[in-house]
């Protein structure tokens, strides 16, 4: 073992002081290997919602999927099996725990009435009913069976749909099916910008 300068010095002095019975202590001191917070958490493999590299992530959640344990995120780490990111994540992917567990999340349906300057709570059923009525009213008012030259067009120019790019394929398909059935032409998406 290469003698670094200091260990040599310490060795000589220690020899001298070693005889002092006062300081010798037999209790071994070694690091307790700390149980990892993720060692018993349940793992869910998912995909990061941010960019289109589609990094695989492992979401560690509380509890072992027992019924009475409501899962909540404990830690998010890269999925080493995923061939593209191989366990790595960027600064956004690594902070996904704060995206899942975030006190700014919207928790209840709200409505802003015309002219009002604040949000009011509204129940889901009330929201659904009102929205459905508005959709029907606007569609009936702006629906065009035929255009000026008498050709059937069956389109509704009064309603627009702007979908996000972190919605899943299946949601997009349902959106296209439902909106095209309403005759919506203003069907746009973040893919455009």
């Amino acid at each position: 073992m290469e003698f670094s300068r200091r260990t040599f010095i310490k060795g000589t002095v220690l020899g001298g002081a070693g005889f002092s019975a006062l300081g010798f202590d037999l209790t071994p001191l070694h690091a307790q290997t700390q149980a990892l917070k993720i060692s018993r958490a349940s793992e869910t493999r998912s995909t990061c919602p941010y960019c289109a590299v589609s990094c695989g992530v492992i979401i560690y959640t509380l509890g072992d999927k027992a019924k009475n344990a409501i899962p909540q995120v404990v830690h998010v780490e890269g999925d080493p099996d995923h061939p593209i990111n191989r366990g790595t994540l960027c600064p956004k992917g690594s902070s996904l725990e704060q995206d899942i567990l975030n006190d700014r999340r919207l928790l209840k349906p709200q409505v802003r009435r015309p002219g009002s300057d604040h949000w009011e709570d509204i129940s889901w059923d009330q929201a659904y009913t009102e929205i459905a009525q508005r959709v029907k009213k606007t569609r009936d008012e702006t629906f065009l069976e035929t255009d000026t030259q008498g050709r059937t067009v069956n389109r509704c120019e009064g309603i627009a749909w702007t979908g996000g790019c972190t919605d899943t394929n299946e949601f997009n398909y349902l959106a296209v099916k439902s909106m095209r059935s309403l005759g919506v032409c203003y069907l746009e998406n973040q893919a455009r910008v």
Binding site: I9, V13, F24, A31, L36
Partner: protein, 298 residues
């Protein structure tokens, strides 16, 4: 817990007597390789560290740089230093270097630390703070050649990167290294990392025209368990103050481990001296002394 193969301890701060279990088992030396030539300054390592260690978020303000904060903090253990370095031909080289504890083989913090068991160096090279034994004297901050340990005023304890001793103890790689998107951070035995680093430096010199590319593994602290591949190994200072020749102050080496114990014994001589004086020259009594028994007066 005790039965599981714990991280084998090699050095303990301010600990009397030999380190228990020293040299009892073979142990590979781990090492973190930071290849600054492929670092993209994305800060995934900073986030992974804060997330793994559940550290509280601290307020930061904008100060004319991409760097998250000027220096690491007690709750922000590794920080990418951004430096816009102007090369001779006037072009700008945007250097990014991950700054964190270097896990020296001959740690200045451990040398300076007066608290028994506050700083432990494992046989695999990781230097770890043990907050229960830390007395908050901040000597380690003075001892560290890389200005790494950070003091938390509330808890009166000092904190730094632990190279994820908990994860490594369980066989995992550190969180920052796992997260690093471009693989600029690598983890493995010291020999493997040194080999990869030298290979990469050679590749840079020969194929990418970066003549002074080299590996940073300063021997003045006995070599470190965090090594860098630098564009210019002859001038590490340009990477945000990476010391060219990191030195542990003499106070915690020659003074603390040689003169102090020696002078300590000199001070005891004072005690010895007075005892000798007492038994030889004897006390000086008020005059006139009364005659001693059986002695003729006069």
């Amino acid at each position: 817990m005790a039965d599981r193969k714990a991280l084998q301890v090699e050095m303990i701060s301010a600990h009397p007597g030999p380190v228990p279990g020293h040299g009892v088992q073979r142990n590979l030396e781990v090492c973190k390789l930071v290849d600054t030539t492929t670092c993209i300054g994305c800060k995934a390592c900073e986030v992974a560290c804060v997330e793994w260690n559940d550290m509280p978020f601290s307020p930061t303000t904008f100060d004319n740089t991409y760097q998250t904060m000027p220096e690491t903090r007690w709750n922000f253990w590794n920080l990418i230093k951004f430096n816009e370095h102007q090369k001779e031909d006037g072009t700008i080289q945007w250097l990014m270097r991950k700054d964190q504890c270097m896990h020296c083989a001959d740690p200045g913090c451990l040398a300076a630390c007066p608290a028994d068991g506050a700083i432990v160096k494992y046989a695999n090279g990781i230097v770890d703070f043990n907050q229960e034994n830390c007395i908050g004297c901040e000597f380690c901050i003075s001892g560290c050649p890389f200005n790494i340990p950070r003091f938390n005023p509330e808890t009166k304890r000092v904190y730094k990167c632990t190279l994820c001793s908990d994860r490594v103890g369980e066989g995992l790689e550190p969180a920052c290294i796992k997260a690093c998107p471009t693989g600029c951070l690598k983890f493995g035995t010291k020999d493997d990392m040194k080999f990869i680093a030298e290979e990469r430096a050679k590749q840079l010199r020969e194929n990418f025209g970066i003549e002074k590319a080299g590996v940073y593994d300063p021997q003045s602290v006995g070599g470190t368990h965090v090594i860098y591949v630098l564009h210019d190994a002859t001038d590490p200072e340009r990477y945000g103050g990476l010391p060219k020749n990191p030195e542990i102050p003499w106070s915690y080496t020659v003074w603390k481990w040689l003169f102090k114990p020696v002078l300590g014994t000199f001070a005891l001589f004072g005690l010895l001296g007075v005892c000798l004086h007492y038994v030889t020259a004897g006390p000086r009594r008020t005059q006139p002394e009364p005659p001693r028994k059986g002695e003729r007066n006069g």
